[in-house]
């Protein structure tokens, strides 16, 4: 996956919009922040069946969007203590990667933003542009906090994240809850 070409693209993309891209936590850091008591994390991706997708849609009131979901199990010793689901959402101007920490009963424990990228040139709608970033670390592009000022401006709504968290909570209830 980590071909050199990929990182070149990330660097170029980040360089053109330095102030509007922010790297927060890596996926691994978010797991530790959300489950500080965990001793290990194990990748445990899931694929939703058609009936499961229908159940998710019924519970969340929005489309279940994807069959495949990136899931990490949090373990304390041998014991399962929760899950982290990794996802990306696309808004009108923004592409946001985030992680949702879930308890075993499928309740949401915490949400952490991983990366935020904003574009006003229409690139957000371009799947090829988005693929540079989705599910990837911004390594080689932007370091945490590096040279990025805080921005004051009108509030950009985070409806897409709110919807995304609701969808993931429904998936957890249908597929992961004990």
């Amino acid at each position: 996956m980590h071909r050199p070409l990929h990182w070149v693209l990330v660097a170029a993309g980040a360089a053109s919009v330095p102030a509007l891209a922010t790297q927060y936590l890596t996926a691994e850091q978010s797991q530790t922040v959300m489950f500080p008591e965990a001793t290990a994390f194990r990748r445990q991706d899931i694929a939703l069946s058609t009936p499961q997708m229908q159940q998710v849609e019924k519970l969340a009131g929005i489309s279940s969007r994807s069959v495949n979901w990136r899931v990490v199990a949090a373990l304390k010793g041998d014991q399962l203590i929760g899950y982290v689901v990794l996802d990306d959402v696309v808004g009108k101007f923004e592409l946001i990667s985030y992680a949702v920490g879930l308890n075993l009963d499928a309740s949401v424990r915490q949400v952490e933003i991983l990366t935020y990228r904003e574009s006003h040139g229409g690139e957000i709608r371009n799947p090829a542009w988005r693929r540079q970033f989705v599910g990837k670390r911004a390594q080689g592009g932007i370091a945490v906090g590096e040279g990025i000022a805080n921005i004051s401006g009108a509030t950009l709504s985070c409806t897409h994240i709110t919807d995304g968290v609701r969808r993931i909570a429904a998936i957890a209830q249908v597929v992961l809850a004990k």
């Binding site: 915490q110 933003i113 574009s119 006003h120 906090g145 004051s152 401006g153 950009l156």
Partner: protein, 272 residues
């Protein structure tokens, strides 16, 4: 440097620390913001705001001391600016679908009607058949609580930014960029902020045409209930972010960056 963000109050809240300080301090600060979110959410039927909106005119509503603080500041700003800033604009925001449709229809906006009054023992009395929304001030208040929380955890320098309403503290100044008024992807101003708050309002993300063909925005002149459509970006600097947040609406509605209200609250504004 450590930077984390979580979705609260309808936007992303970003906390930056100058050092790799304890993660627990940041988690505790986010917990304060989450509390403001739960108390002051318009959507959540268990919030103080939802209970106020459901109450009959004339009724007393018990609210959390934090909600009380926000209502008190809102009333002080409304008094000082002749109601340019008015929490009872919720009805207009609902009508224009900036707030999600409620179970029961909202009462119409009545210019000049005050929705509430505060008594001396922590109670709120609903004084008109009106709904309130704290979206124009609660983000700033949440930022202030988060800053206080970070300070109490021994953090010596930080920036908390709730979707553009931010506050910084520490020995050195923080660089802050302000979005350009007509091109929000570009930077219209840059400044260094030290131990102060800066809030910005503009309609570049919210302006739209209603199904009836009328241009509206989420920024409302509290006197008339009319949307403010001027293409300007208003930034206010103040000691507290709640004050800065509320005063941006005063300057936005009045178009006056030297509005007398600013001086009363020790604030300053610029329009770009």
């Amino acid at each position: 440097m450590m930077r984390r963000a979580q979705p609260w109050l309808g936007t992303l809240v970003d906390i930056t620390l100058d050092s790799q300080a304890a993660s627990e301090a940041v988690t505790a600060a986010f917990a304060k913001i989450a509390r403001v979110h739960r108390l002051m959410s318009f959507h959540d039927s268990a919030s103080d705001v939802a209970r106020f909106n459901r109450a009959q005119a004339g009724a007393f509503v018990d609210v959390d001391p934090h909600t009380w603080n926000v209502l008190q500041l809102a009333a002080q700003v409304a008094d000082a600016c002749g109601d340019c800033f008015n929490l009872a604009c919720a009805s207009q925001l609902l009508e224009w679908a900036y707030l999600p449709a409620a179970m029961t229809p909202a009462p119409p906006f009545v210019p000049g009607a005050r929705a509430f009054e505060l008594d001396g023992i922590g109670r709120v009395r609903k004084t008109a058949d009106a709904w309130i929304d704290l979206g124009g001030i609660a983000k700033g208040y949440a930022v202030d609580l988060a800053i206080e929380s970070l300070q109490s955890h021994g953090v010596d320098s930080a920036c908390v930014n709730a979707g553009g309403d931010l506050r910084v503290f520490g020995a050195s100044a923080w660089p802050v960029s302000v979005r350009a008024a007509d091109q929000p992807g570009a930077i219209g101003a840059q400044l260094a902020l030290r131990n102060a708050a800066l809030a910005t309002s503009a309609h570049y993300f919210s302006a739209k045409r209603t199904p009836a063909g009328i241009m509206v925005s989420a920024l409302i002149d509290g006197r008339s209930g009319q949307a403010v459509l001027a293409r300007r970006s208003v930034s206010v600097r103040a000691a507290s972010c709640a004050v800065a947040d509320a005063l941006t609406k005063v300057v936005m509605a009045s178009g006056d960056a030297a509005h007398p209200c600013l001086e009363k609250f020790g604030a300053a504004a610029f329009i770009i």
